[in-house]
Subunit: 148 residues, 6 copies
């Protein structure tokens, strides 16, 4: 039967007990996108891309957020991630974000990857908001999840 | 001239100095959406909506994240928000999220509203991920910003 | 000989070295109570119990605090808890709180359970303080501790 | 009519909007107690009181927790406390804890005082738990609240 | 009489009460230095300076740490900094670090500037430690403090 | 070939993937020093050493910072330290600081030891800054690193 693992039969919130799960190698990849005006990308390319700090600041924010996921999302378990990476693809009307998280442990790491993407996107938004009031963040989803 | 306030002329990151700005009443409203399978919403309605804990957990996560924005987004200023609210609209194929933030201070609060929406969406995703592997988060944007 | 493990022979604080301890399954259960006026419980039952958000907000606060115990209590070791649960019993003159924490690791988890109870109680206090100035929190203690 | 300020009419959680409140001098004093076996106090007096680190560690933990209250208690507002103090009274069967918090701001600081007491008590518990399995924490309450 | 403001007459720790102090414009500048082997700087220049991410990562870490000072240093007051900047000077045998912090408030911001320098230096150390085991961090001091 | 493990070939920041490393016992020892005026040490000895709270507050701050290293230094992995110790040596013109960190895990713990020393030094600085404007922090380095 289909089951919301974080909900009890009465709809109450619960943190899953992962204590009996085996330690396995786990990888997750998530993606998302900041969509902005083409002029914003043109300005970034003129002033701050590829060599300025914009993408580096967003990468660091994403990595730090991945490590902090259990403090942000109430029912997530604390994890000791072995790896986080955040990469960007600059297009003419936005910036694609892709985060990879790895762990040998008892629970999947897709929330950590999604959190890295989300906070990297928010950080890009913050750095561009003075020149573009029409940006949006979307397409945040898991694109790969491996357990072995 | 158009200007990235968080970038110096060489593209370097910088935190804006807001010390000379006046204290003003500031409000921001942001929205976003978790899109999921209609069956997921049907299951939530059967098991956990409107009276279960799902939306409350996401609301609390969003409020806490808004208060924590300056720790998540590197160039954001620490703020003492006077109000945060997070509301949800359950549709047949997703859940809409709307966050409002308020402050009397020197800098706008849209990053706090966007962060509340993002983390509330991630929290909903976390609670539904056991039953739906195809969800995505999108449409995160500022819908209102007031300064008076 | 009886020994304060967190104190050196001169009374100085020290963090115990748990590196040589074996990984074991560990469970702790702690309890506590918010005592309030019967009228406060009556009002909660009329306006917000059992279906409002009061207990859920306190549960989430308790779970988050348990995960954050090592940041709150200086000599506690950082842990990666596998499970936290917080339950409530509403009586006529107060609310009982019971927290359970689990871990496979080198050190017991009773401080995490006590922290969950304490912060859940503070959160209940916060939500009721506008209607009741005479509340108190007490009876916080460990009721079960298992190692196997 | 009596009102839970943190609850909406349907019992939903909400963070009060304090933006329209005036800045006032606010003080709160809270108390609590760790109750333990007389032998535990005798041992502390022999090994670690009054000159060892026990009370200092608990004081620091309480001060840090007071500053961190808005991260612990979901509906509390972030504050910039101007003062926190934590004092102890060692009795024959326990340790009394008293915390004072001060602020010039828009909202009261009793939750910060209660949090300081609670975390100081948990820290004392942690330092004594190796010699005493029967301790409890109680009597946590506000004893003074001033606004001027 | 000379006085340790953070110590009571018995040598006990205390957090100063700044509530009665006026709000003033405050600036602090601190400096420090990571000293390393000339070959390390040569390698950095070949592979990662001036355009790689090394200095940007350290800058972001310093800014974030400055905002987090009151959580790191027990008797520091929580502040809402209006500005933090961190700059670097690359020499042949090390990297100089200079941080500036600003606030309109009741207490000085030199601890925030010193913290930014320290954590930026630690971050540089972390990024270079795989190639240089002989590095050291020093010269951390306040070079300017203004109140007006 | 010499390699900056935290940098990719283009100088970009990256978090090393430690997932394939074996769990080993790891120890690191770091040292540093707060240099101050002899009169400051004389005053501390008269008012607050050896029995006052000064060194205890700095020790606790150092331990807490060690546990928090991965939140402070962007590319550090989250760790669950099994032990942290911070010791002080009071000289006539300064205070020496020595921190030891231990872990059974996949990555070294020297950044945790260096962070403990740095934050303990900043805490001492904070407590003495009212009486001495000429202090500096230096000599922060790793003095021992063991893996077995």
């Amino acid at each position: 039967m289909t089951d919301f693992s974080h909900l009890d039969p009465a709809g109450g919130a619960r943190m899953v007990d992962v204590g009996a799960k085996p330690d396995q190698q786990r990888v997750a990849v998530a993606e998302g996108r900041l969509t902005c005006a083409p002029q914003t990308i043109a300005l970034l390319r003129a002033q701050a891309l590829p060599k300025g700090d914009v993408l580096t600041v967003a990468k660091i924010a994403g990595i730090q957020a991945a490590k902090n996921t259990a403090q942000l999302i109430p029912l997530c378990h604390p994890l000791t991630l072995s790896h986080v990476d955040v990469e960007f693809t600059v297009a003419d009307d936005g910036i694609g974000i892709r985060a990879t998280t790895r762990l040998t442990g008892k629970t999947g790491v897709e929330m950590e990857a999604l959190t890295a993407v989300s906070v990297a996107a928010l950080t890009l938004y913050d750095m561009c908001k003075a020149v573009d009031k029409s940006m949006s963040i979307g397409g945040i989803r898991v694109v790969e999840k491996i357990k072995k």
